[in-house]
């Protein structure tokens, strides 16, 4: 299973194995990572699983839907060019070592 690296706002790092096909959000919440709330449970409806992806790795991710794009305009922490919703990132083998930075706030 690919390893995903979560970096908390204070710099603390946690590395998790997440099964292919599982979303980064599901993998993180199922394994108890703090900092991802996912109020809507992965339906791309709430913007509380917001993450900042390491810019050099953005190309590994699936394209952003219109819905995700619109939701990112309402995130609690500022939207940046590398903002994504982690429920919309299904893990692929190529994502091994993906670095996911957690925002200060989700709500």
């Amino acid at each position: 299973m690919p390893n995903i690296v979560f970096v908390h706002p204070d710099g603390a790092r946690e590395e998790l194995e997440i099964a292919e096909g599982t979303s980064v959000m599901q993998g993180a919440t199922a394994q108890g990572i703090d900092g991802i709330v996912a109020e809507c449970g992965g339906n791309c409806m709430c913007a509380t699983c917001h993450v900042y992806i390491e810019p050099s790795q953005l190309a590994l991710l699936p394209a952003m839907s219109e819905e995700e794009d619109a939701l990112l305009d309402g995130t609690a922490s500022e939207r940046r060019p590398n903002s994504r919703l982690s429920c919309q990132i299904a893990v692929t083998p190529a994502m091994g070592g993906l670095v996911v930075n957690l925002p200060e706030r989700q709500v």
Binding site: T29, G32, V37, A38, E39, C40, G41, G42, N43, M45, C46, A47, E67, A70, L71, D73, G74, T75, V107
Partner: protein, 405 residues
């Protein structure tokens, strides 16, 4: 006993439970437990429908709109064989791709960015509500708090006409009773529905809605061609149907939980930033929206049971939200719980479009209570309100102390 059904029975475990009865409304948990333990799918012999009560199956049905459609109605009535009692909802009672076009308009009007703009005003209104109630000391937390607060913010946010707002709650009660079987609750609700329906229909017209509100925002989508002028009033109607009674019962559930679980109330008072989580956990714990139906579009197997095409399947959201297969200590109200994945707002493409608004209302109201109120005591008989879909109270008398008492 007769089964109003052409299918030669079902291989699912049979239950004679009536989830639309007073007995059930008073205590659904025992029957939920029986239904969950009977199997992944059960046959409700009284109504001749299959039902799912375990989390995994409820979640799966909610997330498979191709097999379990909404366009044949999300109540017991099958729109393929009977006329809907009102014009079909453009979101609740449609399937993709038709559904998605209308849903996109609502998503925009109720987006996280829109909620940010509303937050300050909603928070100020919550402070006022809580201050007034503290002055009184004793009050009925259903009309005076759970109804009063949403009614102080939502109708204005929608842009409802000022006159006639007393129709809002009765109209919603009709809508949510209509999803049930042809029982007394539904018959009485529909018999008295005409004046409420007439007011709502008139209020959904473009000229009736105040500028700047959700309603005007929906009508504005006709100018860009996202929806047609005929569709806009129907889409506004969805907010009249589902925008108030749901949050009333959500807030009522939260207050009832906090009054019954004083340790959780203390935890919330110690850290009012848990207010949003306390509301969310109350939605899981009480599941204000208890049930919805889907209709199968093809023969499908659920947990080893063959379900034919064109069959109604009842989903017990409240039972799924307390399924011990999914939740640790499911019958405890725990505001520190990770609630993500609960189905109190549904799931999948039809998941509650107003969930962000509901959370905003719940968060700012419980937050104001946590900062300003001390002990909450239930001070009189608690009475339940009966509805075929909604779970909540009619009366919750409480006595509250100020925080510094």
């Amino acid at each position: 006993m007769s089964i109003a059904h052409t299918m030669p029975g079902s291989s699912a475990p049979v239950s004679d439970a009536d989830p639309f009865s007073i007995e059930f409304f008073e205590d659904p948990h025992r029957i939920h437990d029986e239904l969950r333990e009977a199997g992944p799918v059960v046959w409700l012999i009284r109504y001749g429908v299959h039902a799912v009560a375990r989390y995994a199956e409820v979640h799966a049905v909610l997330n498979d709109w191709r097999t379990f459609c909404s366009s044949r109605g999300v109540g017991m009535d099958d729109y393929a064989t009977g006329k809907p009692w009102r014009p079909r909802s453009l979101v609740l009672e449609t399937d993709p791709p038709e559904h998605d076009r209308a849903r996109a308009v609502l998503n925009k009007v109720l987006s996280p960015a829109a909620m940010k703009r509303l937050r300050e005003g909603f928070a100020a209104a919550a402070e006022r509500t809580v201050d007034e109630l503290l002055e009184r000391g004793s009050f009925d937390a259903i009309p005076d708090l759970a109804e009063a607060y949403p009614l102080s913010v939502f109708p204005d946010a929608l842009g409802m006409p000022q006159g006639g707002r007393e129709h809002v709650l009765p109209y919603a009660a009709v809508v949510f009773n209509s999803f049930g079987p042809d029982n007394e609750l539904r018959r009485e609700a529909l018999a008295d529905a005409a004046p409420h329906m007439a007011w709502v229909a008139e209020s959904c017209q473009r000229g009736s809605l105040a500028p700047g509100g959700f309603g005007a925002g929906i009508h504005a989508a006709t100018d860009t061609g996202e929806i047609t002028p005929d569709e806009a009033p129907l889409l506004v109607r969805s907010l009249f149907s589902a925008g108030v009674d749901t949050t009333v019962n959500g807030i009522g559930a939260a207050v009832y939980c906090l009054a019954r679980f004083p340790d959780q109330w203390r935890k919330l008072r110690a850290d009012p930033s848990l207010a949003r989580a306390a509301f969310e956990e109350a939605v899981r714990f009480e599941s204000p929206v208890q049930t919805f139906f889907r209709t199968t579009t093809r023969p499908v197997e659920i947990g080893g049971v063959e379900v034919g095409e064109g069959e109604k399947v009842l989903m017990f959201l409240g039972a799924a939200n307390r399924d011990p297969r999914r939740w640790e200590r499911p019958d405890e109200y725990d505001i520190a719980r990770r609630t993500s994945g609960h189905v109190g707002f549904g799931n999948g493409v039809h998941m509650c479009v107003g969930q962000l608004l509901a959370r905003l209302e719940g968060e700012v109201l419980l937050g104001a209570m946590a900062r300003k109120m001390g002990a909450i005591e239930i001070s009189g008989p608690v009475r339940r309100r009966y509805n075929n879909t909604l779970r909540g109270l009619a009366s919750l008398p409480v006595a509250v102390q100020p925080a510094n008492a």
